[in-house]
Every structure is written in C-alpha cells, then in structure tokens.
C-alpha cells in the first residue's frame, strides 16, 4: 500500500504554491552531489535502438543527447557525466552545447547502469538531438524532429521527474501517442528566444500559430515549475509531427526575438 499513498501525495504536489517566476535566483553549482541527476542506461539505449530502427526519417543524421537547464540558476558550465554500474564507470565527454554521443557498453547494460551527472536531480532536462548536417542556419528539419521525439520518448530522458512521476507519465503517454498525434505536445527548444516558426517545403510557407509556441502559452507561474520548459519558455515550440502533408524534408525556419526583421 505504500505506492498508492505516495501516488496521492504526488498528485497533490501540483497544488502547492510555487515561487514567483520572476524572483531573483542565485546560481546553483554543486561539486559533489547528493541526489544527483541519474537516468537508466538501458532506457537510454532503447532510444538508441529506436533511432536505428527509424533512421529513414533522417538518414543523414546522427543521434546525440543533450542536457538542458531545467531550474532557474542551474550552472550548465562544467557538467560531468558518466555511466556508472556496479563495477563499470565510463565518462561521457560533453561538447560545448552539453550534448554527448551515446556509447554501447555491454557490461553497463548487464549491470543495469545509470547515467549520473554532477548536478542535483530535477535541475536539468534531457533531449535526444537528431540533426541532419548542412541545413541552413536557423532551421531544423521535420524528419529530424520526428525521429528526435521517438528516440527521446523511448529513452525516457525527457525530464528529470521523480521516478514515480516518470512511471505515471509512461502509463499515460506512449511514444506513439506523443509523437504521432496532434495533442502529443512534445516540446522542442531553440537556442535563442523565438518570435515565430515557419514551415517551408518547396514553394509552400506557413507559420506555426501562437498555440504552437511557448508551450501553448498556457503556463502560469504556478504550473511552470512542473514543465521542463521552466527556464526555456521563450524558446519552446511544438512541431506538426503528425501531419503527413508536411514531409520529412520540410524545414522549420526560426524567427528569433533578437533578429532585426528583413
């Protein structure tokens, strides 16, 4: 009976008053970390398997995973990541954008290892990253995003929620539902604040509506801490992953807030 009571407790958590979003926040930098960010290595490799299975969506692309800030003030400089099992420990070097290439390690799989970062749990979120090389600057390819969603969902790295919430989420949201239906609401992020996104395929150009920007525009200061867009809200968009009228080669062109209009 412990689990149901925990579930009820967790269900009430969203009712708790949240800190105002605009409060000044001190930077959080933790050297040796108790309660660190950790993720299942086996689960991450399921995402790698999904990437390989559905590679036709983005045949030229490779798969990486990227760490993103989840809480205000988290220091994303100097993040260290490793695969840790009972006997195995494999450092995963991060590139400047805090992304890394997944590596296969049979022993880590056998030992049901975890990925551990030197940051506290819930301070960072994760995303699969699938990028076809050679795209014009300020664009993403729709097929890459479709594959990113599938690999990201299968790898269970979407956000660093407590295990019980992840378990509940996985019961409610399957990869197929999230990545193939209009209300799937898989969040993507750009590197800079966005004012708009335009779908471009051949001669066709069409902007995404406001409802597909900023996590739908529906977050409040109270709900925001439960969204992994908490500190990236102005960089957040949904893509029409489900819409076959826009093929995989469709580009999403970003119009950033800090760019001067042509």
């Amino acid at each position: 009976m412990r689990i149901p009571f925990i579930l009820l407790f967790v269900a009430l958590l969203p009712c708790a008053p949240a800190l105002a979003q605009t409060d000044a926040v001190q930077q959080v930098k933790v050297g040796a970390t108790r309660d660190p960010v950790d993720k299942s290595y086996r689960k991450m490799m399921q995402g790698v398997d999904r990437f390989e299975r559905d590679h036709a969506l983005a045949p030229q692309a490779s798969l990486r995973f990227r760490l993103l800030p989840r809480q205000p003030g988290v220091d994303m400089q100097g993040v260290k990541l490793r695969i840790a099992g009972d006997t195995v420990s494999v450092p995963l070097p991060l590139s400047e954008d805090n992304s890394f290439a997944p590596v296969r390690n049979a022993q880590a799989l056998r030992e049901d290892a975890v990925l551990i970062a030197n940051r506290k749990a819930t301070t960072m979120s994760w995303r699969a990253q699938v990028i076809t090389p050679g795209l014009p600057p300020g664009t993403r390819r729709l097929g890459d995003l479709r594959l990113e969603c599938r690999a990201g969902m299968d790898s269970g790295l979407i956000s660093n929620d407590p295990a019980i919430i992840s378990w509940l989420s996985s019961m409610l949201y399957s990869t197929d539902k999230v990545c193939s239906e209009p209300d799937g609401n898989y969040l993507f992020f750009t590197d800079r604040p966005l004012l708009g996104v335009t779908l471009v395929h051949g001669e066709r150009r069409l902007a995404l509506p406001f409802k597909m920007l900023y996590a739908g525009g529906e977050q409040t200061p109270a709900s925001l801490p439960y969204c992994d867009c908490q500190v990236l809200l102005d960089r957040t968009y949904y893509a029409p992953l489900w819409d076959k009228n826009w093929p995989d080669d469709t580009l999403l062109e970003f119009d950033y807030m800090d760019e001067v209009a042509p």
């Binding site: 604040p193 902007a207 995404l208 409040t220 807030m257």
Partner: protein, 101 residues
Amino acid sequence: MKWLMFPLLLSLAACSGTRALQASKSVPQATLEQTVQVGSSTREQVRAALGESTSIRFDSGDEVWMYTYPAAGAGGEYLILFGPDGVVKKVRRGAVYQLPK
C-alpha cells in the same frame, strides 16, 4: 490499485494549474499596421487602440501579444514583441497553420 487511479488522475487534472488563454481579438490587418509602430508604440497605446488580446510575458521582461486578422484561406496572426521597456521591438504577421479541431 485501479480504484486509486481515477481519483489520482482527477486530482492531477484539477491541479495542473495551466491557464486558459485570453481569447485573441480579431482586428483588420490595415488597423494593425497603422496602429503598431516598431520602436515607438507602447503597450498602453496598443492596448488603448486595439484592446486586450492573447499575450504572454517572459522572465526576460519581453512580452508577446497576438491579434488575429481575416486572411484568405488560413487565418492570419499578428504578433507584437514588446521589450522590457514596454516599447514594440518587432512584429510578425502571416497566415498560420491550422491545428486540427
């Protein structure tokens, strides 16, 4: 455990805390173009001339307001970006992708 799932889901739904968007206001495009001047129009001026519409404010102090306007085929959206000083920094307009109902 099934008996617990229903109240649990109800509870999650009740507490999710997201807000209903303020409905967007439809304004003729010509009015929008005349009213909103990049670099000089303020939030107060735009509100007084066009009324409230869908909006969102970010931690950076930037704010985005959205008005709709009638357009051939798909509907049109007019986005206004206000800087932290309350002055229009940038606008964006165009026909938009229609989400399935």
